[in-house]
């Protein structure tokens, strides 16, 4: 049985905010299927009662004093933006307010 279907690929592409053409979808069905089938070898192991490792550090929370520190000024923060009005990042309208 196929590990992953074209509908799965389309669903995941939607979550990942990608728009894939038909050829890419077909290719990913095969490639992701092979890779996920390979990953199934983990099911050979019984991991009941094993704590997951999220990171390897022997530390938990790292706190510091809540003090104001220098940060990027607006001009530097906006310098790489594709579109700004000098104060904000600009994107196409999200809500149609009807007053274009």
């Amino acid at each position: 049985m196929a590990k992953i279907t074209k509908a799965d690929v389309e669903y995941v592409a939607g979550l990942a905010q990608l728009t894939l053409d038909e050829a890419t979808k077909e290719k990913l069905v095969g490639e992701m299927g092979d890779i996920l089938a390979y990953m199934d070898k983990l099911n050979e192991l019984n991991t009941d009662g094993i704590e997951p490792t999220m990171h390897v550090l022997e530390m938990s929370n790292v706190f510091r004093e809540d003090e104001v520190q220098p940060s990027l000024d607006r001009e530097a923060a906006l310098a790489n933006a594709p579109k700004t009005d000098g104060e904000y990042f600009l994107v196409p309208k999200i809500l149609d307010t009807g007053d274009e």
């Binding site: 990942a16 905010q17 990608l18 996920l36 983990l42 997951p52 550090l57 510091r64 594709p82 999200i94």
Partner: protein
């Protein structure tokens, strides 16, 4: 005046610059001329900062003239993988989605190198967002192996590795998530270390998989590795995962003495999957260390066979989250002519990423998605615990674990690019080190019959880079051969 400064190690350059036997500018000119000579073939650099490097070198010379302390990397020419944020030039991760991006700040490792007197020569090629094992996934160019121009230099830090082997830089900086420093170091025959997770601040390193990423240097010899670690290691308030531990003087570990030291050979690494010639080279290196008084013990890392599956679940999951930030709003590429914000995101991401990055985002999104999280991501994190424990148990029996860095020497360009899973399997010997968070170093141990370098990997307990350096230094001093200049750039 000698014009072959490009051949020298960082410590040789530093000592000569400080002793006023040569100026930093002369050294920089020597490297720039070398880049001009060979980089057309090797294609390690994506951007050469010739004028800025000359100015930086002149500033070092001026400080020496004034009798100021210029640091332990005075006048040393250094190249940076394009994954490091630098105010100078662009920082693109060799991705179309970051083309033209100019970082407003320098990362901590870069800043510390600069404060130690380094001269930056420019940015180096890499697999897009450090995803790959061959540097073929760069959106800019394909880097060639200086030993054979038809072969890959390994990856993802292939440009950083090739630039050292081809004598274009004295030190380069790379990043290692699953072997991206050690595997290319092995492929081109130089020294590369991935320090313990937390040793070096990752502030200013563009994130790929945050629980695995670590910065490290590529060098021509082990002494230079110790010097570079001395400069870069240590707590940084800008990276809360940087370890709050005292940093030893790593140059004190440069002793040719391994008497009584226990070398562990994990039986799971020395199987039929290991190329016979490669095995012979590793065993020759083991014999060199045995002659110096080291004892060999067999150890077991029973979950080795599961490491690749664990790694490609965790790294793709973390990558899919980290790469969500590239959306065409605040920086980087924005798809033209879009009508809505949703279309802006999807078109920007779809056009901006190359095929391997898209594939990993898809896999990572899948393993994190509702209904699959427990089966893949949580399961992988549990097996990660078992892999860590394997190492904890092994280090009860030995001081270092010694393995090949890669199952084969460098492969041909195009040989594995059609099959992603096969490419992933070439990381078999390096990824466990990242999963366990321990340090690992790769160094050359000779040439195989095809004339390509073989690499040996030395691993130790967390924060025990000192023992790794001692073993590496001993082997380097006693192995009885020099790697010499790679054939294709002689």
């Amino acid at each position: 005046m000698s014009n072959d400064w490009y051949k020298k190690t960082a410590h040789e350059i530093r000592d000569a610059v400080r002793a006023k036997k040569v100026t930093a500018l002369e050294v920089t000119e020597s490297h720039l001329a070398r880049i001009e000579d060979v980089d057309g073939k090797v294609k390690a650099f994506t951007d050469v900062w010739a004028d800025a490097a000359r100015n930086q070198a002149k500033a070092v010379d001026a400080r020496i003239k004034n009798g100021e302390d210029v640091g332990v990397l005075a006048g040393v020419p250094i190249g940076l993988k394009d994954v490091f944020c630098t105010k100078r030039g662009t920082t693109t991760c060799c991705s179309k989605i970051l083309k033209g991006y100019r970082s407003p700040f320098d990362g901590t490792a870069v800043e510390r190198l600069q404060n130690a007197g380094a001269v930056f020569l420019g940015k180096l090629n890499m697999d897009e967002f450090a995803m790959g094992s061959s540097t073929e996934n760069s959106s800019v160019q394909i880097t060639r192996n200086p030993w054979n121009l038809d072969c890959v230099p390994g990856g993802s830090s292939g440009g950083s590795a090739a630039a050292i082997a081809a004598d274009e830089c004295a030190i380069t900086l790379g990043s290692d998530t699953g072997g991206s420093i050690r595997q290319p170091a092995a492929c081109v025959g130089c020294v590369g270390i991935k320090p313990t997770y937390g040793r070096i601040s990752r502030y200013g390193l563009v994130a790929f998989a945050s629980s695995l990423d670590q910065i490290g240097p590529f060098t021509k010899d082990v002494e230079d590795t110790a010097i570079a670690l001395n400069v870069m290691c240590g707590r940084d308030p800008k990276d809360s995962t940087s370890a709050d531990l005292a940093v030893p003087d790593f140059t004190k570990s440069l002793k040719a003495d391994v008497s009584g030291l226990r070398i562990g050979l994990p039986k799971e690494y020395y199987t039929d999957a290991l190329n016979a010639e490669m095995r012979e080279k590793i065993m020759d290196a083991v014999k060199v260390l045995e002659r110096q008084g080291a004892k060999v013990v067999e150890v077991s890392l029973p979950h080795t066979d599961y490491a690749i599956a664990v790694y490609y679940i965790i790294c793709t999951a973390e990558a899919s989250a980290n790469l969500a930030r590239f959306d065409g709003v605040r920086y980087g590429y924005r798809a033209p002519g879009v009508g809505s914000t949703q279309e802006l995101y999807t078109r920007t991401k779809t056009d901006g990423y190359g095929p391997e990055v898209r594939r990993r985002i898809m896999l990572g999104t899948y393993v994190l998605s509702s209904g699959y999280y427990d089966a893949y991501y949580l399961k992988a994190q549990k097996v990660r615990s078992l892999i860590r424990k394997d190492f904890t148990d092994a280090f009860e029996k030995c001081d270092v674990v010694l393995t090949p860095t890669s199952p084969t020497a460098a492969f041909k360009i195009g040989e594995k690019s059609a099959n992603p899973l096969e490419m992933y399997l070439s990381d078999i010997y390096t990824i466990s080190v990242n999963l366990a968070g321990i340090p690992g170093l790769s160094m050359p141990c000779g040439l195989v019959a095809s004339g390509l370098p073989a690499g040996i990997q030395i691993m130790a307990k967390p924060f025990d880079e000192e023992t790794i350096l001692r073993v590496a230094y001993t082997y380097e001093q006693k192995r009885g051969f020099e790697m010499g200049t790679p054939t294709a750039v002689k």
